[in-house]
């Protein structure tokens, strides 16, 4: 790891000033930054430690909304009683991510800035071509081993999968990220690669994530996060789904439904076609399975990741069926 200068920001204003410096990167939990610095993927000139800023780790949950400070640890949010009861998909996405140790380190704000696990992105010594690292250098994944790569939101520049779990649940429930002078939908905060694979987030120099806010809803209260992977635990998703469901008084007609996907797209992926196909419909397994297939409209595979196109709709259907059974 190349050395860097280390500065500690004691307050959010200092952090914003520092974030505007050329070559500066913010350090919160360090689980992405230190990892990628060791891989040689990032070489910050200055690391700004924001982990000691007080008051940024609060978790404040009411029926109306969850307000989560950027420095709250993943583990604390996952185990928070009101998050579990009012936003179960958020808790489930968190405790199924990474390991207990990493969740004690990683912060909610840092989690939104997590980078892809694309093995070509992570290995600059052996794979110099990566449009995410070096715009215009090409994509080593296309034509390479693609079993873990995305099928939705891909471009000719990049097919790297967004690896996180939390943001999938956030996107499903219309959460917003607070950047100080700007507030964005989490869905808009993440950028699909297009021709600019190096731009993963709509965040500008001098901006610092201070909090996320998740609106409360009946669908958020009755929600789940299902994650299918190669191992039972401590692995990134092959496909995952955050689903929330609100039924009419008859107990089977869909009033509101939220569906978002992880592990298959270049960003946390809201599946509105599935939602639209199910709103107002009475739930039965055939209807659910047919609607779930719509999530794969526009999917493009690169051979080894073809299985994701079959897998993801089944994960969605499993989540909806699970919520329907727990009426």
């Amino acid at each position: 790891m190349r050395d860097f200068s280390y500065l500690r920001a004691d307050n959010i204003e200092a952090a914003r000033n520092a974030a505007a410096l050329p070559g500066a990167m913010l350090l919160a939990g360090g689980t992405t930054l230190i990892d990628l610095a060791k891989c040689g993927v990032v070489e910050p000139a200055t690391v700004i430690d924001i982990s000691h800023i007080e008051g940024l780790n609060a978790i404040d949950v009411t029926a109306d909304r969850a307000l989560i400070g950027a420095l709250a640890k993943m583990s604390h949010v996952a185990d928070h009683a009101e998050v579990k009861s009012l936003f179960p998909a958020v808790s489930e996405a968190l405790w199924q991510a990474a390991s207990a140790q990493l969740r004690n380190m990683a912060t909610i704000g840092g989690n939104l800035m997590q980078r892809t696990r694309c093995p070509y992105f992570r290995d600059p010594a052996n794979f110099p071509a990566c449009n995410k690292r070096e715009p215009g250098s090409g994509c080593s994944a296309i034509g390479g081993v693609t079993r873990g790569h995305a099928v939705l939101g891909v471009s000719e520049a990049c097919i790297a999968t967004y690896p996180g779990d939390l943001a999938v649940a956030l996107v499903a429930f219309d959460a917003e990220v607070d950047l100080g002078e700007r507030r964005l939908k989490v869905e808009d905060f993440f950028l699909a690669p297009g021709a600019t694979a190096e731009q993963e987030h709509d965040i500008r120099p001098g901006e610092v994530i201070t909090a996320i806010e998740i609106p409360g809803s009946a669908a958020a209260r009755r929600s789940t996060y299902i994650k299918v992977r190669d191992r039972q635990s401590y692995e990134f998703a092959a496909a995952s789904a955050a689903v929330g469901l609100e039924l009419e008084g008859d107990g089977r007609t869909v009033r509101d439904i939220r569906v978002a996907l992880g592990g298959v797209a270049t960003k946390p992926w809201r599946a509105r076609a599935v939602e639209d196909a199910l709103k107002g419909k009475a739930l039965d397994e055939a209807t659910i399975r047919e609607a779930s297939e719509l999530a794969m409209q526009g999917a493009v595979d690169h051979g080894a990741n073809h299985y994701k196109i079959a897998l993801a709709p089944r994960v969605i259907a499993r989540a909806i069926l699970k919520l329907g059974e727990t009426a």
């Binding site: 790891m1 860097f4 230190i34 000139a45 990474a98 207990a100 990493l102 401590y234």
Partner: protein, 186 residues
């Protein structure tokens, strides 16, 4: 405390950290940090480069080699230690990040008279290792797992101990040891 951003432009004479600052621009040059690490009840003053991890500080500078370096990439759990009572990975933790925090390593787990912690005793009793390299990390993780209340069943133990890999495959005995210690500590 003054904002450390000021140290970039106008370094204080005796700031908390001695950050050497290039005067011809806004980018400070790498230099040495003076840290105070509170480890196993003892304070350790240490001058390190900013890039030094807690793991390397423990092993190479303080000769606390009970904490193991496995993958050094946050994937194996061999370097698990406690910071302010919570389990973390020392290989992805900058030493500077935990300046002033309370750190416990495997060396700090037993009583001063040598009486083993209940988790250490359970690992011995259940033969929860083969080569032993992952064991300090397994034990530090298990102590926290039980304290968190995440050792209520074998399935929960497997889930919440998933961040500690054992290449010898001693997992059944590790689960048995954590289950036994959790019952004893209840």
């Amino acid at each position: 405390m003054t904002s450390h951003i000021q140290t970039i432009i106008d370094p204080p004479e005796d700031g908390h950290f001695r950050n050497g600052v290039a005067t011809d621009g806004l980018i400070p040059s790498p230099t040495t940090l003076s840290l105070n690490l509170a480890i196993n009840g003892r304070d350790h003053a240490l001058d390190v480069e900013p890039r030094v991890t807690l793991l390397d500080a423990l092993r190479e500078r303080l000769h606390l080699t009970g904490t193991k370096k496995g993958c050094d990439q946050g994937q194996c759990g061999a370097c698990t230690v406690h910071v302010d009572g919570e389990r973390v990975l020392a290989c992805l933790t900058l030493a500077a990040l935990v300046d002033g925090r309370t750190i416990t390593t495997i060396e700090g787990l037993a009583d001063e008279d040598g009486t083993l912690h209940a988790v250490q005793a359970a690992f011995l009793e259940q033969d929860a290792f083969q080569c032993g390299y992952c064991t300090p990390g397994q034990i530090m993780s298990a102590v926290a797992c039980i304290r968190e209340g995440h050792a209520g069943s074998d399935d929960e133990i497997r889930e919440y101990m998933a961040g500690n890999l054992c290449r010898c495959g001693a997992y059944p005995n590790i689960v048995a040891a954590v289950r036994q210690a959790a019952q004893e500590l209840r």
